[in-house]
Symmetry: D3
Subunit: 193 residues, 6 copies
């Protein structure tokens, strides 16, 4: 199965990539033990690669009102809605690890309404899912619902921006048939202590 192509576009030759792109890929390889296929697939276009991961880091890695696990919940829930195999499997792994919860990713991907999230997280996901599929109907009532659960204006921005960024990522991964690495499927599934 390892022989399956990682995307319908042949990945760039690693040696021929710009230095900063290679360094980014080597860093993730070092941290994760393997290179997630999205890195190799997007490296075919270095400028887009740089913008994509700069955007990713700005939304997913910086300090803020949402925990990193909560941000991954948004990714998994909206990717589930968009039927994006790469994002559900890869970010499902990250969510399990960040939330230290082996069940949450499958729950949130299949049906957030039945997942073991707090009411505050449920409100966060409701907002994110509306941004994902009916953003033209977002109005004051949606922001008010967030506020009732203690989310600030900046939190609301984060939720919307993460949902929007993965609306893009889901479409890229789906259109390019980016294949999730086999490693992701089982990561973080060991029971919590």
């Amino acid at each position: 199965m390892r022989e399956k192509p990682i995307s319908r576009f042949p990945p760039a030759e690693f040696a021929g990539l710009p230095k900063d792109v290679r360094e980014r890929i080597e860093a993730v390889q070092e941290k994760s033990g393997f290179v997630p296929n999205v890195f190799l697939a997007l490296a075919r276009r270095p400028d887009e690669f740089r913008a994509f991961f700069a955007y990713h880091d700005a939304l997913m890695e910086k300090p803020g009102g949402l925990t990193k696990a909560e941000r991954e919940m948004i990714v998994v829930a909206t990717s589930g809605l968009n039927d994006c195999l790469y994002c559900v499997v890869a970010h499902g792994a990250i969510l399990r690890i960040r939330a230290k919860n082996p069940l949450i990713a499958d729950q949130v991907a299949v049906n957030p309404r039945k997942s073991d999230v707090t009411p505050r997280q449920r409100a966060m996901l409701d907002f994110a899912l509306k941004v994902a599929v009916r953003s033209h109907e977002i109005d004051d009532a949606d922001y008010a619902a967030l506020e009732r659960h203690g989310f600030s204006d900046d939190d609301a921005w984060d939720i919307a921006a993460i949902a929007a960024f993965y609306a893009m990522s889901n479409r890229l991964a789906n259109a390019f048939s980016i294949r999730p690495n086999d490693e992701f499927y089982a990561m973080g599934r060991e029971p919590r202590e």
Copy 2:
């Protein structure tokens, strides 16, 4: 998390169940090492329990043109489409085990088009998914597509009947909020040899 209710309807008291229902539950406990929650949830209504599992066995356990793994693929694919957490998680486990493939269940649940199935299996899933959501549009062309992949009339019946039976099961599990047992999530995920 183990304390979470298995369904929004309190399960029947085990001791008070009819003998045949108890025996069925004890048999699955012995075989699986735990009792899948759908058994306890439906036992509240013994006649419905009996009919449900008789129907299940007639479709899923008898000899036929579809392998048992293929039948589970139909269950997981249509349950994914119907956002049924119980069925995706429980039958995902069974599919991984029966197909001896730790990746297939997540693939089929999220997007059958990107899954590692054969073209014949893909045709089977296309038919099943149409039965699941647009059965009123099924026509001769759909049966002809199955035939081109070598499926017999009886195979076509099986595919349709399994998709239809899980259309019912998905709605029961969703409406009753039947919770998948924690055990299912990690089953069958160890790499194949």
Copy 3:
């Protein structure tokens, strides 16, 4: 028109059917004056036939909080939504007879919101229709709405289970092109006294 096939699968030879299946068919023939085509179509698979009708009887014939006419309303409303010709026509006839109302079946099949039902029945149909098409979104608010109209927990189970069972039946009848008997169309249409 009588010559039209009753289903795209040739029906089983009556004489070759197991005794219990034959008896069930003879009983309905005696009661109705004709054999509804769903019996002949499903008899091709005796085990599935037995489970199907055992399930049907458990939901539609036993005593309970819903009248038999109300149960048929659920069948006709959800079958209308699923564009199932067999179920709308056959159960439309049964509904007219059980409700002693020659208008109700067409009303409920086309648009339950414009039908001559009580507000309590309208709440029952709203719940059933949500189970039929958006069961993954069923939540506490839906059960609370039933409770406000005096439905018990067991009534809620019945409504959901009937909607779920006909989700299956509709898909079988649609996928197999089971043709409603001509007799059904005019049954129960004579004006009430």
Copy 4:
């Protein structure tokens, strides 16, 4: 049941209507034995009444390539899709009478794909249903499909125009809750000779 309001807007006082409107209503009363409620409901606005029935007559009564029964098939099929109780019931009656077929109206209203129509009529209905719900996608291929079944350009115009006119009628009847007269439900249901 006769006491139910014919529409959510109180009908005009008959005596106060303009002469031509009264004459039109008296003519249909004489012909049908009762006044279909749409006449009374729309008479509240005489100018709209006149335009509505002038348009109706231009499409439904003039000579042309489609039989009158075929035109009613278009009405019933598209009204079924739009869940319009008034139009399905009233025009279902007219269709049964014009087609001398007691079964056809229910078939076409619930699922045209399962109805006893000719392949040519099926092509006609496919075109009409696309006009009814996805007219923005109509293109040359849809006209070519009609042509293959022998429909002329003027026939295509008629099919589209009837589907469009009933798109309007369905919305009026739905929004105004125009109630079909009880008489319509049973009309034309006696078996053909």
Copy 5:
């Protein structure tokens, strides 16, 4: 671009049209400086032409509780929803002129929720859009919402009837590929004083 056909049906020869049809066309030519293509396209069928414009005038030109600009808002909003190029472009021009607002037509066509309309106009558009796409779900609550904004029963009728009439017009223009005249695109776009 002027050479593009005005519709997929060749327009009628002007000289051969009935006198009243010619006069109507000459009147609009005189008033607008050009003949909107819908006139030429529909003149192919004089009886339908007469009924169409009689209906149009009854709804759009007579005195009433809605301003003429508000009526055009309904047309543009519902036509946007139905992806009708002719109606969005032609009535967009009329709306800009009648509302003396160069921005309003694009806003209402793309997303009425983000448009510079009053809350009362927003309620009017919400009702119209529901008639356009989900008229079978219109109920008392929709009328009550209008009433809260001061709309009378006759205003509600007007809103529904305009939305219904353009449900028809949109389908005719889409199915017949009626091309908006080039003149419409820029009309009324000069800034207001």
Copy 6:
């Protein structure tokens, strides 16, 4: 109208922005004569601003197989589908200018099927629209359709990536209620010579 807020999030104070962000804003001001509101709205988050415009430039400004006008067609068509007022109005202006065609933007925004594009451009838009709303169904047949019109693999990447990037942008603009500058509405509408 100029006083309307440019977004539901207050824009950043210009003077307090990082130098590179200010320079980018000054550059667009110089080029366009005004600052499009999306620049001010996103500047609230400098890192996201930088990534957004770096991505934009990589897709929209670099040399490639698609003309700049064609890239804007993709933006306008997909933004129309997503009901994004900001993107339809702002990029509609850019499209009119780049295509030197005052009609094309409204056509493509309302219904690409009725627009004055070449068959090759129509294939490009069909692919882009599928990425926008059903990316999980993109498969080899979609790429083959592009290839038949002479699009290279890199062109296909560009089409998909632009559609995906504006899936994000549309959601940001919708969720944040970014208001299109009044200047955009009339830009590029003067007739071509």
